[in-house]
Amino acid sequence: MFKREMKINFKNFMIWTSILIGLFLVVFLVYPSIVNSENMQMMDEMMKIFPEEMLKAFNMDISSIDSAFGWLKTEGFVFVLLITGIYSGLLGSNILLKEESDKTIEYLNSVPVTRKKIVITKILCGILYITLMVVVIGIFNFIGLSLSGDFDRKSYILLSITPMLSSIVIFGVCIFLSTFTHKTKKTMGISLGIVFASYFLNIISEMGESTEFLKYISIFTLADIRNVIINVSINPWMVVLSVAITIAFMMLTIIRYDRKELV
């Protein structure tokens, strides 16, 4: 069952990973020509126009875009966070529910396999694909950065791992929500909504003290890239929290699925 699950989800994995790789490929090819002293002066001038809160939201106050790594730390990881988040959300809302939506669950339920095993197999497959996406992107960017010049490797590795924290939670939340319906159509929109709403709440929360409380309801707070850039370390509490929330949602999914009417 695991092998089959890997096979049917491979295509989507390739599509979403290719989107990110394509984006970074363009960056690595084009960036060296942008980054010359003349252009950088113009860029610096331009940046001064933006309000400080705005720069803070994109980590531009603590990092410069004068190198490929600098760009990655600011805008680059925003894309990684969002795209791995969207991929995880769609995967979570689809991986378990697809059997019901396609009505193949009537077959799967009849063979000697428990519902718990069905859920666990699909969760493992989902987490493996999310991890693979983070690793593949991480390796690709590592090679790209190595060819573009010097960069802080430790900082880069930690930054590459960080999207995993938000992605597994998004996956957990979405797979749990998928146990409340029978059709994937209904959950896809909700998943995307969760990812975008969470991301914007995170951006707004960084803009000022009055909106700071919003970070407590954003999943992207767990992927604290700003902290990694400043301190070159991942806050262990965020790791614990991410893993704990994910496990909690997985347990809830197993419990809900066990009681669910499958047709």
Binding site: R4, E106, Y107, N109, S110, V111, R115, D258, L262, V263
Partner: protein, 291 residues
Amino acid sequence: MGKNILEIQNLTKYYGKIKGVENLSLTLKEGEIFGFIGPNGAGKSTTIRSIMNLINKTSGKVLIEDKEFHKEDVEIKENIGYLPSEIYLYDDLTVKEMLDYHERFYKKDIHKRRIELVEKLQLDEKKKIEDLSLGNLKKLGIILAFMHEPKILILDEPTSGLDPIMQNVFYDLLKEEKAKGNTIFYSTHILSEVSKICDRVGIIKDGKLIKVEKMEELSKKSLSLVTITSEQSKEIEKDLKVNIISEDANTIKFGNNLSDDELIKKLSKYTIDRILIEEATLEDMFLHYYQ
């Protein structure tokens, strides 16, 4: 008869306030083919889905060989073959890949039986599932239900989509299973199938099991259909207290339980223009007794 194989005890299923089945109890013995008949929406699929644990029972339980069948009972599932009325399988796979996938769920080697069934039902393993016709999809469903040699077969409208030749191959397959001592729960609305293959029949209507009868007893019940044209048709109707099937001017058609002799004696006092006495089919019996 042998031991209890499938036992449904006081099964009730409500969808919110809507009744699916109510207080349904039924026992299937080893080696019997039990016909489960009823009109559309009577509760046949709800009963089957409750047995298979696809839906949650409101109350009641299902026992397989005297052991309660829970969702997580993998060992019991190894001994059940299930054919749903509409078959949905993985469109991206070929028939061969689907059968290979199915084989991997079972501990025992079921490859030999698979080859026999594929040959018997003449199914092309190279075809993709998405390209299969309804009949071929049904054949694949039958192979999947039978290939692990289950002790209990739960079949929901198994012959829909099969051509008459394949239907006969399928009936032979059922006879083979019965000869092996396997038990078959056969849900259908085609009454001629029931009279052909079943040992007992259960009739479900509006979510209630209204009758369970041995096939031979049901066949013994004398029922004839009588059509009379007479100016005294209204009086005949009152006198004989019959259930009218159809009525048109002076012509009435009704189901008759009396012997021909008794019927003619009772009708002798009336003036009858025309009379037709026909033997009732199983379908007529079903309509007469249970509608």
